[in-house]
Structures are given as C-alpha cells and as structure tokens.
Symmetry: C3
Subunit: 313 residues, 3 copies
C-alpha cells in the first residue's frame, strides 16, 4: 500500500484501520521524521491548506504537537477552544462544526470529552476529521506515535510483549494501543488495580493482571499510564503512596522485563506516583522520543488525509 | 469606481459608505470568493502586512472569519483578547491601541461592547481600523456579507423586499443591514415584539411590524435574528416558548413569502426559538453560504483598506 | 564584535553580557528597525525555525512584541500560557519544557513569576532560551530596548545621567537597566519611597534618592516605572493621590532635568499616578518609540541566538 491508495477522509480510531493502513502511516511518518532535524524545519506540502484545531478539552501537549506538525507542513491553521465559542451561547456542536466548515477548511482536528463526537462530525462534514481524543474511547495518533517509537527501537511490532500499566478502564490511550498492537501482532498485557480494570478485557485479546510483577516479566515494552490524581477521591484506590507501592515502575521492578525493554509514558507524568524519577530519566526511557514521534506521526496523518495527491495528480 | 479610487483608511460602519463603495466591496469579494474553492486557498496579496485582531468581546465566528481571511491573503496576524491584556492592569483603551500601533500594524480589527470605540481609535491611529462590531451600533462586515449572499441569489439588491425579524432594538446586525439595504434600493421591513422595537424606526425608511405574518408576506428575503435568551429574564418577552409561537420562522409561515425567498440568519441559531430546525436546514436556507461569504467579504475589505495598490503603484 | 562572533545559546540577563555583546545587539537591532517601515514588513531570516513563547505570567505587551518580531523574521511560532497546560495537571516545569523541546524548537521565550526559571531551563534545554521576565530579577530585552531608544536620541550611552523613579525593589526592569546602563558608562540615579527601595543598592553603583527633585536635576533621561496599584493595600505607600504628589513626573518637575531630557516608561502607564498625562503625551516623551524599539531589539536577539549563521556558513 502506498500514499496513492490511501482513501480515508477521516482518522477516527485505530479500530477501523487495517494493518496495511497502520504500516503506511508509520512509513510516511519515517519520511517526515527527519524534517525536525533540518536547519529549515519546513516543507511546502500543505501550503494553502487550512486546518482547524477544535479542542473542547484543554490539552497543551496534543494541541501543540498538531500545531507544530501543521506549521512544518506549511498549512494555515487556526485554534478554537470552548471558552469564548458559540457553544457558550447555546449553539449545538454540529452547528458550530458546520459553520467552521463553511469557511472551507481542509481538515478539522477535534478533541472532545464525549466518545463518538468526532464520528458524528465526520459524518456531517466534507472536511477530513482527525480524532485527537474522544472521552475514554480512542486517541489514534497517540497509539500511532507509540507504535512508531516501538518500531524504531525494536525494528518490528509483531511478536513483541507490551505491558500497559495503570487506569486501564478510563484510558483512551490504552484502548487505541490495544487495537493497534494486537492488529500488528504484539502480545498485550494490561495491569492495574481491580477497580481500574474494565470487565471483558480478555475479549480484546489481552492478558489481564492485578499484580505488577508478573505483568512485567519478560516484556519488551513497559508503558506506564498517568494516574488521574483527581480520581483518588472517588475511591478507585486508597492513596498515591499506596499506588506507588503496588504499581509504580521502579528500577527494581523494571529488572523483571527484558534487558533491552523500553519504558514509555504518554505524559504528563506524575513522578513518584506511577513512575520513579530515575526510571523516567533512565537509559531505557524513550518518553521524550515519543513526543518527537508525535510530530512526525501527525504530519503523516495530516498529509495522507489532506488529499494533496488527488488534487495534484 | 474601482480599487484604485478607494480612499478610506477605515471601515467603521455602513452609514458612511456610498452605494458605489458598497458595490466595490461586493465586486471585490466576488473575485476573492473562488479562492476558498481552490486546492491552494492562498494568495500573496497581503504578504508582509500585519493585522491585529483586537477583540474585547469574545466571538468565535467573526474572529475566525477574519483570521481565515487574513491567512488566505498571506498577512501576518495576531490576536488580542481582553483577558490577560494590559487593560486589566488599568491601562486605557487608547493607550493599549497606541501601544499596539507602535509595533506598526497595517490594520487593526476591533470588536468592543461600547458603541463608537472603533471610531475613537480610528481617529487616533495611523493604521486602518475595521469595526467588527461595536455594541448595538454597527457591524458593517456582517451587513456586507448578507448583501453579498442576497445579491448572489437574487442578482441584485434594488427592488427587493427584505424582512428582518427579532430583537431589532439591540442588534448591530440589523442597524448595519438597514443602512446598507435602503442605500441599495431594497425595501426593508422589521418585525418583533413591541418591547424589542426601538422608537422612531420609521425615520430610517423601514416598515415596522409587531406581527410576523404581514411582515413576511411577499418577501424576497427573510432574515431571522438570534434571540438573546439571557434577555428573557429582563422581561422583554415572557418565554422562549411564547416567542417561538409568535415570531419563529416555521415552514408554514415561510409559505407567505415569495416562493423563491431565501432564509438568512447571522448565527449562532437557537433552533426551536427563533427558527424551526427544518427551515434552518431546508432548501431555502442560505445560512451556511453567509458564513462562506463572510470570508470573501473580509478578504475584500482587508485588501481595499491595506493600501496595497498605492504602495505598489 | 560582529554577528559571527556571537556565541551565547541563551539570553538570560544583562548581568552576564559584556559591553561588546550589548553593543552588538543594539547595532543588529538598528538594521532590523527599518523593516517595520517597509511596505513588506518581513524578512526570510528565520524561515523554518520554530519559536515557542512560554508565558507563565500574562503579558499582552511583551508577548505581542516577541510574536511580531518572530513573524517579521518568518519564524513559525507557538504560544503557550499556563491556563490549559499540563502544569495544571501537576507536571513539573522542567518536564513541560523538556516535552516542548522534544518537538525541536530552535528557541524558547519564557516569562515566569519565579526568578531563575529561565536559567534552570537553559541548563536543561538544547534550544536557546530567552528570558522575557523572571519575577523581580531580570527582563533583559526591556533594558535593551530602553538602551536602544536612549542611544537613538542621545547618540551614546556613556556619560549620560539616567534617573529611574518608582518601585525600585520589585522591578525587574530597573534591575536589568541598572546592569546595562552602568556597564555602558551611564550614571544611574534611582528614586522612590523608602519602602520601595531595596537595601544595598549603592553596591550596584547607583545613586539613591528618596525625594524626586534632586534625582531629576540635570538628568538626560527620566524613566518612570509603573506603580502596581495592588501593592497599595500592602501599605508600601498610603494612596495613589499621595504617590502622585510626591513622585509623579509632572511638567513642572521635568523642568529640573536637562532641557533635552527624554521621558521613558515601560508601560502600561497609570496616568495621573506615576506620570501626568501631559508629560506622557508631551514632546519629550519617547514612550511609544520604546514599543517600536522592542520589536527591533527582539528581532535582533532572536536572530543572534538562532544560530542561523553557523548552519548556513
């Protein structure tokens, strides 16, 4: 499969994608990765295209990654956040989106706390829609950047053992990652307190653990999730201290993984809660590489969805 | 009249403009309209020009329309909103504007809740000033985009009957539209509850109605205004349900207008309050075209005021 | 010294700079100054470079000045402010900065209320760091734009008498200015209420006054600082009226300075508190020129730190 055969208007989730499509995105990202290392970090690929970043949930990290990707592709971009928008005046989400679309953007990047909002908009808009996180549902570009990072270090995705640790139930990151990794032939293990594990996880083809050590044993990749401290009040677990004792990735525990295992985290980290600082900054950590991969992967997705080839061909 | 003979530094209101000037803006907008339909939605017209968007009232719609217009003209733009500005530190509006001007912008787009603020600044600044809405006074680019949309559908502005319905007293949109439409030879009717009609409206040359049906009868254009639900507390009308019963545009009521009448709304709409959903989405609605027209009209205004021709000539 | 011999990665404060480095920045700013007067206010100098503006304290003025400077140099820029950032989720400042850096910016402009934060980041980041104000510590580009403005009017910096009046203790502007002016051979006098004068000021080589008149007598430059009205509650002085009576620059008091003295203010001004309106707008005021100088000086600093020459050479 090559860029010419890409036919999707939208990127809504990993669940929809074929392994070939995933591979195409990752290969395309490889070719954009080195742009960040040039003195002139810019290519004219999306010159004259308009991208609207529509964030109904705040996010420095994901928004800025998309923004940098857009600018390095020479697109014109615009940011909208809830505050100050017509939504406060009672306009419906769909009307807001249709109004923005009437200004002829090529692509709309959307984050919303309600699952399915990107799909709803994609069905109504002619513009391409990229899901930048919808509730606890999907966050496809995060899973793609994780896969990109793993592949760079391991040379492949199939046959790897990837352990994901934390609040599995409320994480869109884990959901998208499970879809992607199992499609690409990795074995996925998840671990967390029983209160943070959704029912019926095994149906997704993953191994479920309620203790950290057996989940990590022999893993090629250990991915720690951010603990939402605000959830502690809701009694999902007793305290951040106890969480650290049972589930944090420490140097000692990491020893149970393969010697060449890499450590990942989608950020922002709670050092001393889900991950010890020396592991976060240690030689096996690829956490900052994930951030750099995010820009490359988003450039690839923006490029593939922009329909540049069609119009130029 | 052609672009070379345009001599205004500022666009403050429709009241100041001659019919020739209005026609020039609309004709210029026609030539920019198709930019939004190109694969490369960008022209180099304002390259190296700086435009400051100074919004003291939040507005997703108008601000984003100006922003897209500026980017498609290749201008450098910058957004200021009240929050975080020196105004909170007690600096006067004029000092803020003079300070921004000292950075040599070419144009300043301003929205403010107080009528006359754009005029005050225009008198003090060398830069061109565009009024993007001043209180209940004027909103000239809105009236221009409405006229642009009407002209595209009807082929002309003179001799048409245009009915505007809603809170006539508190609307800058209606004020600018009355100026524009009467100058261009349309007959304007306004309709709304008595509490929302200012005194002495007839002096502006419009027909005033307190019932919807006779106002709509035989109209070429029906323009519904947004009802500010927050005004209901102030007893301007009893409830949104009663407002709907008396003044909302329904399919049945629209039947009294000409068969080829178009339905307009400046947005954001309150579906089920001032307009029924099936009318908003129906075949006579040109509401989303108005949004697209907004970008073209703003590109035209930015271009005409930028003095590009002088400096290049 | 010329641009090729500039070797600093960061601009953290004036205290670190040699007189030659200061002179180089000012000379470079001269060459950028006229860009603002061209019809096309843009040079391709930083095309394809990424600049991140990381403002943890709001600032319309400084941020917009940097933003315009960046755009006129054709850099890609991005703005971050605290609100909505990962910092609210408990991520540390250093993690935030490392994450942003992983996206490969060339330069990071930072403002923070805590002294030393830019230095902390500069030590950890490969990107160049520009201090845009750190607590009451330094604000180097402000001192440079002040010096630029003085030099344009006086033709030199050495041998001048410069009087700075106001809240000396809490001002980063005054600290950077004292460093710069004394390095360049000016005599500096400071004046303010005793409660606003830090101890041991004389050690910095400045003359300290608690009355306005003797401080102004014979001065070439009178620089008034903004009074933080919110500090009045903290009893640093009794009332703005009393402050005006004792320390405001009025026309009469300005008469004690040299006849060709210039009046400066970093803005935003409290007219009628620290400066009389007729002085602020009078013939000796260069306050708006300072703003224009800010853009030129920031273009110079961005250019020198960007390492353009190295990579192109």
């Amino acid at each position: 499969m090559n860029a010419e055969s890409w036919h999707r208007k939208d990127l809504l989730g990993i669940a929809d994608l074929s392994p070939e499509e995933i591979r195409l995105i990752l290969d395309t990202a490889e070719s954009f990765r080195e742009v960040a290392e040039r003195p002139i970090k810019k290519v004219p690929t999306l010159r004259g295209k308009t991208v609207i970043n529509l964030f109904f949930e705040s996010s420095t990290r994901t928004r800025s990654s998309f923004e940098i990707a857009e600018k390095r592709l020479s697109a014109d971009n615009m940011n909208f956040s809830t505050s100050g928008s017509a939504l406060e005046k009672g306009e419906s989400l769909v009307d807001t989106a249709l109004n923005l679309e009437a200004m002829s953007p090529d692509l709309v990047v959307i984050r919303h706390r309600a699952p399915g909002v990107p799909h709803l908009l994609a069905a109504r808009l002619r513009s391409g829609v990229i899901n930048a996180g919808d509730g606890a549902h999907e966050h496809p570009t995060q899973a793609l950047l994780d896969a990109f990072t793993i592949r760079r270090h391991k040379g492949r995705l199939d046959g790897l053992t990837v352990t994901i640790v934390g609040d599995i139930e409320h994480s869109r990151v884990v959901r998208s990652n499970i879809h992607l990794l199992t499609k690409m032939g990795s074995r996925v293990r998840v671990a967390g307190p029983r209160t943070m594990l959704p029912p019926a996880l095994e149906a997704l083809g993953v191994e479920v653990h309620t203790e950290l050590e057996p989940a990590i044993a022999g893993a090629d990749v250990v991915m720690m999730l951010r603990i939402q401290l605000e959830r502690m009040n809701r009694k999902l677990f007793p305290s951040s201290r106890e969480y650290f004792q049972r589930f944090a990735l420490t140097r000692e525990r990491l020893g149970a993984a393969r010697e060449d295992a890499i450590v990942m985290h989608p950020g922002p980290m709670n050092r001393g809660v889900e991950i010890a600082s020396d592991v976060a900054d240690g030689p096996q950590s690829v956490i900052l590489e994930q951030v750099a991969a995010g820009v490359a992967v988003r450039m690839a997705v923006l490029y593939l969805l922009s329909g540049v080839r069609e119009e130029e061909g």
